[in-house]
């Protein structure tokens, strides 16, 4: 086994292993939920998930990346509220980050 990993097949084994791990992540939540009864309480938990995942992802990253990230995220949210257009929000957010960084923020 160790010889195989160290040999030519090694990188492909690594990719295969990464694929398996990632697919396990992708499938396990759905498999788990198919065994849980959808009570109103569970439904409320699921409904809170998208926003919770979004906030849990962006807040620490924004804090870590500093002011330029806050500028970018604020621009993105503002543009989305005003235009309701995904492209405008995305492009404006990225542009704001680039501008903020070139301004030294």
């Amino acid at each position: 086994m160790t010889d195989v990993i160290a040999g030519q097949a090694g990188p492909y084994l690594v990719i295969l292993a990464m694929t398996a791990v990632t697919y396990a992540c992708r499938a396990s939540g759905a498999v788990l939920m198919s065994r849980v009864r959808l009570t109103p309480r569970v439904e409320r938990a699921l409904r809170a998930l998208p926003g919770s995942i979004v906030v849990s992802t962006i807040l620490p990253i924004a804090v870590q990346s500093g002011l330029s990230a806050f500028v970018g995220l604020s621009a993105s949210i503002t543009l989305m509220r005003v235009t309701r257009n995904d492209l405008a929000a995305l492009a404006g957010g990225l542009a704001a980050v680039v501008l903020a960084r070139s301004a030294g923020l």
């Binding site: 992708r26 998208p50 849990s56």
Partner: protein, 236 residues
Amino acid sequence: MPIPSDRATLTFEGCLQGVRMTLPLLPSLIVFAAAFGSLAAQKGITWDQALAMSGTVFAGASQMVSIEIWREVWSLPALLEVMAVTAFVNARMILMSASLQPWLKHASGLRQALMLFLLTDANWLLGMRYRQDGGRDLGIYLGSGLVLWVVWVAATLPGYLAGALVPEPRRFGLDLLMPIFFSAMLVPLWKGVRPALPWAVAGCIALITHALAPGYVFIMAGALAGALAGALVGDD
């Protein structure tokens, strides 16, 4: 507003609409995929390995991280390390997949398995937004996932061939691409203060976890806290 959990459809028109909804994301996705290809080339990965990884792992952040710790000669401990890192970076997919299930369950087993393979941040969030607004056509999620996959794989190769010509993602703010897209999606997800209370709980727990624990555990910790808060506090 309750998510309609009774029915779901899967139509070709829905797939096309899913493709259209994904178009605004494609320019950034292309640059991101090219950046991955170019990084892979710099680290001595062969082109077919880079393509294979984009096609089968199909998860940008974890691909980038694995390239950072890529080796010329592999060992069992190194393999296990890559697997652990991949699991940590992609753990958020467990929760995304769970939140998709009440919608996805109406499709056949094989289609569910395929659609779960195509689960990414972008088509999950586009699908959730559409679903929360009362839509039920799974084609939105599937069409979006398919176009993301095709573009992600296709754009990996030119990046690989261009090698060092592809600029650093940071220069275009692309290291913040996902947070920026996520923050924009908060706007349509917003249904008033009360349904958003769990988000505040999630944010606090994520910040605390981020300060205390290494890696990406903060996403899981925050999201689970948010779901728990949602279960405990009614929003109607």
